[in-house]
């Protein structure tokens, strides 16, 4: 197997995740797209790990998974809060940052 097949797969998933983050209006779906990005990173970490014959990448892949779990927890809590206040989780309506 080539290392590149995994890396290209990771790159593809990453870019799809980016596309999803940018185009989705629903906040929950934006979070899902972010999960795509995080998974692509993990694939990269493990591919390099195997290429170099080390185990450090496994450790960091685990850390990434843990961070992702934390991120989803907090992210969904925020989405719920927004929903409770606005009855709507469309990110386009959250434009308080308008300059």
């Amino acid at each position: 197997m080539l290392v590149n097949q995994f890396l290209i797969l990771g790159a593809l998933l990453f870019c799809m995740g980016v596309y999803g983050v940018l185009t989705r209006k629903n906040a929950v779906m934006v979070l899902m797209s972010i999960e795509l990005i995080l998974n692509s990173v993990n694939i990269n970490l493990l591919a390099f790990d195997r290429l170099n014959g080390s185990s450090d990448g496994n450790v960091f892949a685990l850390y990434v998974i843990a961070i992702a779990a934390a991120e989803v927890g907090v992210g969904l809590a925020m989405v719920l809060l927004i929903y409770r206040n606005r009855k709507n989780i469309s990110l386009d309506d959250l434009s308080e940052m308008k300059g």
Partner: protein, 742 residues
């Protein structure tokens, strides 16, 4: 985690040298004591702060003594390095400890000494403040941060100290956060410095990638490896140096990121004084000096035929821009702030042209006189001008009422201007001289112009503050002792008419401060001993400190002590040797300083000196001396119009016309210099500083609006839009890097 001691001291060093790590530890411990128990102490925790600083000072002095001894007794004094593993991650160990060499000792001594004086001064200055204890806690931790940074043996500890200072400066600048302007100034300082801090993190990471270690000194440290060319990619070293220099720009208030420094005046004056003399702003310069080989090699300093480099350019621009801005400030602290920015420009420029020793020596001398100047400003505001820093409205004629402050101010000002035999002369002139000697002619000229401008704006500030007639806050208490009560209401009423009737009270000036043998509340007089003693000490040092490295007399003590800290060979292939001193080389700078002084004094007397001339005197003189004199007199009181002091009386078209004729024909030459300089300053202030730089710093929002709303949709406030920009910019950036490297 706190593992065994890893590096033993190479050879027997004295107790103070091996225990110099106590210097930051004591104030850091004192911080916790003050925070926890300070409120219950009889003096609100200030005694702990002062005691800790004195202890630090004692150890630093001992270390300095032993270091001098070490230098004298050995051929090549090596740094005393002691470290312990602080933490390790992924097989890389990060140590904490001390690296004591000449540079560290110099900075330790400076910081401990000035912090001690500033704290003593503060006990009087912030007495009765509602957050008195917190003030002393923050200022003690602030000093601890700087001390941690200067004895850092590696970049990690350096960042630690750096960030502690960043936090404390935020707390101290925003000490009176109830006023929104102060809170905003604190935030601005924090964010601006933070922008630069990104450079520090990136640069440090790059150093780790290049050298595989973050140790600064030692045989396998960054400095040695950079100096010996033990790295694979010169290109990467260059970018690391640029990134680190961005950090220095942010912290030391260099040109694009200097806007936070004048705003930082919102803090109490002792804070400004500490911030601007030995800590905080010097940190950036210290960073460059500490890992000088990285910059020297990375940015090709002192390579033959290379007349420009990033550090010198930024330093040079800063000197001129900041000095021009100092002309148009009415707030005495802001004049000093821009002066600091300008002087930091000198230090940077010195480092940029390979004049390491003069630049570091300028850190040393500048700390004393700038600290003294700020404390003088504080002293004036405290007892002279009713807590106002406005030179034009609330000061003037204070020289007789505040003799100690006046003398300390004068000595420091002369040192700042670089008058021969004052400390600034020995350091600043060395920098200018080295620029010429090392073939950086452009920066030699910049240095000379800067020196003349320094002399001019300091003359203006001195004149406004100490000469002329008392105005506003400095004046209206004088009348009080005659027939008014001193309650605030009365003061307020009289405030408005001061501009007109101060003349009547001049006659009482000499005995005015005394009221039944006691000073009146707030009557201009010298402050109590807590304030004057530091002023006297610092004023003395402002004069004396220069003699540690007085080239004209062949005294090079300072140089001998610090030689080993440069990290580069002196002479061929390293830092050029210092030029031999000839008085003839100092002539241009002395002449320019004198010119700046003379022009400024002349203009000051013309513009401000006659400001309070009463109108009856004017008409009398007109009648007496005739038409020839009328132009001159008219000019005086129309200049006052320009200053907006007595608008109504002279809003007269004929006078205006006469003024302009007079202005353009008779005084053409003089005024071209004066007004031109002033206009340039104002223009630079309004357009470059306020619009371009501030605008850029404040983010792209303002720029987009300025560009006619073409980019307005970008600031849609929609998260996805920002995301698109972020990723798009990252992609384009990556593309550029790929194209450049392939």
């Amino acid at each position: 985690m706190f593992a065994e001691e890893t590096a033993a001291v190479a050879d027997a060093a004295g107790w103070f040298l091996t225990h110099a790590w106590l210097i930051p530890v004591i104030p850091a411990a004192a911080f916790f004591v003050i925070i926890l128990f300070g409120k219950k102490m009889p003096r609100g925790g200030s005694e702990i702060g002062i005691a800790s600083m004195v202890a630090a000072l004692v150890i630093a002095s001992g270390a300095a003594y032993q270091w001098i001894d070490r230098v004298a007794n050995s051929e090549e004094a090596t740094a005393v390095i002691r470290t312990k593993t602080w933490w390790s991650s992924g097989g890389i160990k990060f140590a904490i400890g001390e690296q004591i060499d000449g540079l560290a000792i110099m900075a330790l001594l400076l910081v401990a000494f000035i912090s001690t004086l500033v704290q003593i001064y503060s006990t009087e200055y912030v007495r009765g403040d509602r957050r008195y204890t917190h003030f002393f806690a923050s200022i003690t931790l602030f000093s601890a941060g700087m001390l941690t940074m200067v004895l850092a043996p590696n970049m990690v500890q350096f960042i630690l100290g750096w960030e502690i200072m960043g936090l404390c400066s935020f707390l101290l600048i925003g000490h009176w956060w109830e006023e929104e302007a102060n809170a905003r100034a604190a935030l601005k300082a924090f964010f601006t410095v933070r922008t630069g801090d990104m450079g520090l993190l990136v640069g440090t990471a790059m150093l780790l990638a290049i050298f595989g270690t973050l140790d600064i000194g030692g045989e396998h440290g960054i400095n040695v490896m950079a100096a010996n060319g033990e790295f694979s990619s010169k290109n990467m070293l260059m970018w690391a140096a640029v990134a680190l220099f961005i950090a220095a720009i942010g912290k030391s208030g260099q040109f694009p990121l200097h806007t936070w420094l004048p705003d930082a005046m919102a803090g109490p004056t002792p804070v400004s004084s500490l911030l601007h003399s030995s800590t905080m702003v010097v940190a950036g310069v210290f960073l460059v000096a500490r890992i000088y080989p990285v910059f020297h090699t990375g940015l090709d300093i002192n390579i033959a035929g290379n007349h420009v480099n990033l550090i010198a350019v930024i330093g040079g621009i800063t000197i001129i821009i900041a000095a021009a801005l100092a002309f148009v400030q009415n707030d005495i602290k802001k004049v000093l702030a821009y002066s600091t920015v300008s002087q930091l420009g000198y230090m940077m420029m010195g480092l940029g042209v390979g004049a390491w020793m003069p630049a570091v020596f300028h850190i040393f001398t500048h700390a004393f006189f700038k600290c003294c100047l700020f404390l003088c400003a504080g002293s004036i505001a405290h007892t002279g001008s009713h807590h106002s820093f406005d030179m034009k409205d609330d000061m003037g004629g204070l020289r007789k009422k505040m003799p100690v402050t006046f003398i300390a101010w004068m000595v420091s000002t002369l040192a700042l201007c670089g008058l021969p035999f004052f400390s600034g002369f020995f350091s600043k002139d060395e920098i200018i001289d080295s620029a010429k000697h090392n073939n950086y002619t452009v920066f030699f000229v910049v240095g000379l112009v800067g020196a003349a401008m320094t002399a001019a704006y300091m003359t203006r500030a001195t004149y406004l503050t100490f000469f002329g007639k008392p105005r506003g806050g400095a004046a209206h208490f004088v009348e009080g002792h005659e027939d008014h009560s001193h309650d605030e209401a009365a003061d307020e009423i009289h405030h408005d008419v001061d501009g007109l009737d101060t003349h009547a009270h001049v006659a009482h000036d000499d005995h005015a401060p005394l009221h039944h043998g006691k000073p009146l509340p707030f009557a201009p007089s010298d402050s109590s001993w807590q304030i004057t003693v530091p002023l006297i000490i610092l004023g003395t040092l402002a004069f004396v400190s220069g003699y540690l490295n007085a080239a004209p007399f062949g005294w090079h003590k300072f140089e001998t002590w610090l030689e080993s800290s440069v990290g580069l060979p002196i002479g061929e292939g390293g830092v050029p040797e210092a030029a031999a001193f000839h008085w003839i080389n100092a002539v241009p700078s002395i002449l320019l300083v004198a010119t700046g002084f003379a022009i400024s004094l002349f203009l000051c007397v013309q513009v401000y000196g006659k400001e309070t001339s009463p109108f009856k005197g004017l008409t009398q003189r007109n009648a007496l001396l005739g038409a020839g004199h009328r132009f001159l007199v008219n000019k005086y009181y129309l200049d006052a119009l320009y200053e907006g002091v007595i608008v109504k009386a002279i809003a007269h078209p004929i006078a205006k016309a006469a003024y302009w004729t007079n202005q353009n024909i008779l005084d053409g030459v003089v005024n071209a210099v004066g007004i031109g300089g002033r206009r340039t300053g104002l223009w630079v202030y309004k357009n470059i500083d306020q619009r371009v730089v501030d605008g850029a710093v404040n983010g792209s929002g303002a720029t987009a609006r300025g560009a006619g709303g073409a980019l307005q949709p970008v600031q849609s406030g929609k998260v996805s839009m920002y995301g698109a920009l972020l990723f798009g910019a990252a992609a384009v950036g990556a593309l550029v890097l790929v194209l450049v490297n392939s």
